[in-house]
């Protein structure tokens, strides 16, 4: 069964990460690397994303057919999505276990649409 794990963090999390010494940052990355390795067989793909201040949004105005390119994210929020993983697991509880063991913040789990009408 497929799910997407969305790795979330607040602005404070980002600030804390930015304030880390190089050594601490290395350790944090090592933990994430270990998680990724330990779950390799269940991960179909995934990436860490550049911070939200690099985001660009294209907005469509359906009434006049125009699209406008704006600097910034689709949703302005205190929490951001810092990365994602697409996983294929035996059931939802296994997805929960993976999310629980993620070492770097909160995780939103979303089922994917499998049957299209």
């Amino acid at each position: 069964v497929k799910y997407v794990l969305l790795f979330c963090g607040s602005d404070e999390d980002a600030a804390r990460f930015a304030a880390m010494t190089p050594d601490q940052a290395r350790q944090a990355y090592a933990k994430v690397g270990q998680w990724w390795q330990a779950n390799e067989s269940k991960i179909l793909g995934g990436e860490q994303l550049q911070p939200v201040n690099t985001a660009t949004t294209v907005r469509h105005f359906w009434d006049n057919g125009e699209s406008v390119v704006t600097d910034g994210p689709f949703i302005e929020a205190k929490e951001q999505i810092g990365g994602f993983a697409i996983i294929d697991v035996s059931d939802f509880d296994e997805a929960l276990r993976m999310a629980r063991s993620w070492p770097a913040g909160d995780v939103e789990i979303r089922p994917v649409v499998t049957q299209r009408p």
Partner: protein, 399 residues
């Protein structure tokens, strides 16, 4: 009619969960299974109220449910396979109600939905009954159930026993759903008395079922003992005029001694397993009260020790507030008042904090403070029985 209702409730409790569990397994679709069982139960309610309960209510319900399930699978591709399964008589199967309970109490569902789903799918309550018991509109309950079923289907929440390493946490979740259900029925006053009592009894029945299925889980036994101890004292909680009576003033002769003995035996069985936990400790505290001949002759030092153990395992400001009441009896009001004051910011929105604070303030001679706290307590409770009690107390202070 009341007797019929009780008899019907008993049949539903015994049959609904088994039937749902069997259908979920056969159809592989929780939402459909749950709806079919509800349909069958509603049909039963209608027909049995005219013809009386049939000789074999079990067979009656299963026939109706099977017929509806067959109607449904005919529309499906895999229908031959499922049809074959539906047409074989229900074998003496293992009890799958446990899997069903774990599904309904999955932590990925909102807690209100866990309560409603468990009562519907496992105990066979109708949406109307749940709404009446929880004092919420029927549409709200219906919506909670629809959303929860949608989430179960979309997220594919599994229908199976939790893994061993997850069992403790999942079982704790189930127990908290049962206790919330029980409290909703038993502790909250107002609304439809009978409907609420029924829900409390459903919660007890579920705890008994769990105790049967998990005979070596002491917290299950602890919760069961706790519920029985509450129920045993239920007749004394309200006086002839329907006013709430505090434990201190209750007529202890009207407590159900047999039920207390049963609860204590249950608690002893739990204790023998040597894994204490919050429900066992709360039950032990309730047992101290239940076995005491009077408020004054209660073993307060023992209760204080039990609260300390409880707070160490499951720290909560409410447990600390209750501990303060025991401290009052053991040490005196000044010490208790200090502890209660320390909880002010955490429990400011909780009417009982203000009620206890008022009593303690009065005990040390701070009449004005006490009165202000009583007024605040009155403001904070919407429960008519509790409002009545506070009003009587305010009137007494004024004399």
């Amino acid at each position: 009619l009341v007797e019929t209702n009780t008899a019907v409730a008993a049949v539903f409790r015994e049959e609904a969960g088994r039937l749902t569990a069997w259908l979920v397994r056969t159809l592989g679709d929780f939402g459909a299974a749950e709806e079919i069982v509800q349909d069958a139960l509603l049909a039963a309610l209608e027909q049995w109220s005219v013809d009386g309960i049939p000789a074999s209510p079990q067979a009656w319900l299963r026939t109706v449910a099977r017929r509806r399930a067959i109607d449904r699978v005919r529309r499906e591709i895999r229908f031959r396979e499922k049809l074959a399964e539906l047409e074989t008589p229900l074998p003496q199967e293992p009890d799958n109600r446990l899997e069903l309970i774990f599904l309904c109490c999955h932590p990925a569902l909102p807690i209100e939905s866990q309560l409603a789903l468990t009562l519907r799918a496992v105990c066979g309550l109708t949406t109307t009954q749940i709404a009446r018991a929880f004092l919420v509109p029927e549409a709200t309950v219906a919506q909670r159930i629809v959303r929860a079923k949608r989430k179960i289907a979309a997220t594919r929440i599994p229908y199976r026993m939790p893994r061993d390493d997850e069992l403790d946490a999942r079982l704790a979740q189930v127990l908290s759903v049962l206790y919330l259900t029980f409290n909703e029925g038993y502790l909250s006053a107002g609304g439809n008395e009978a409907a609420r009592l029924e829900v409390a009894e459903d919660a007890v029945w579920l705890a008994e079922l769990l105790a049967k299925l998990f005979p070596r889980e002491p917290e299950v036994l602890g919760l069961l003992a706790l519920m029985r101890l509450h129920l045993a004292r239920a007749p004394a909680r309200f006086d002839a005029e329907g006013q709430l009576v505090l434990l201190r003033d209750q007529d202890r002769r009207s407590w159900n001694g047999a039920l207390i003995a049963e609860a204590v035996a249950c608690l002893e069985r739990a204790g023998a397993l040597r894994r204490p936990g919050p429900y066992q400790l709360q039950a032990a505290i309730a047992a101290c009260h239940a076995e005491a001949p009077s408020w004054a002759a209660t073993d307060w030092p023992q209760i204080l020790t039990l609260y300390d153990m409880l707070i160490r395992r499951a720290p909560s400001p409410i447990a600390r507030l209750n501990r303060a009441v025991a401290l009052w009896e053991v040490v005196g009001p000044e010490a208790a008042l200090r502890d209660v004051q320390a909880l002010a910011s955490e429990l400011d929105g909780y009417y009982l904090w203000h009620a206890v604070y008022a009593e303690l303030a009065l005990a040390v001679g701070q009449r004005e403070t006490a009165r202000a706290a009583e007024l605040r307590a009155l403001e904070l409770t919407r429960n008519p029985a509790e409002q009545g009690l506070l009003k009587r107390r305010l009137a007494a202070d004024a004399c």
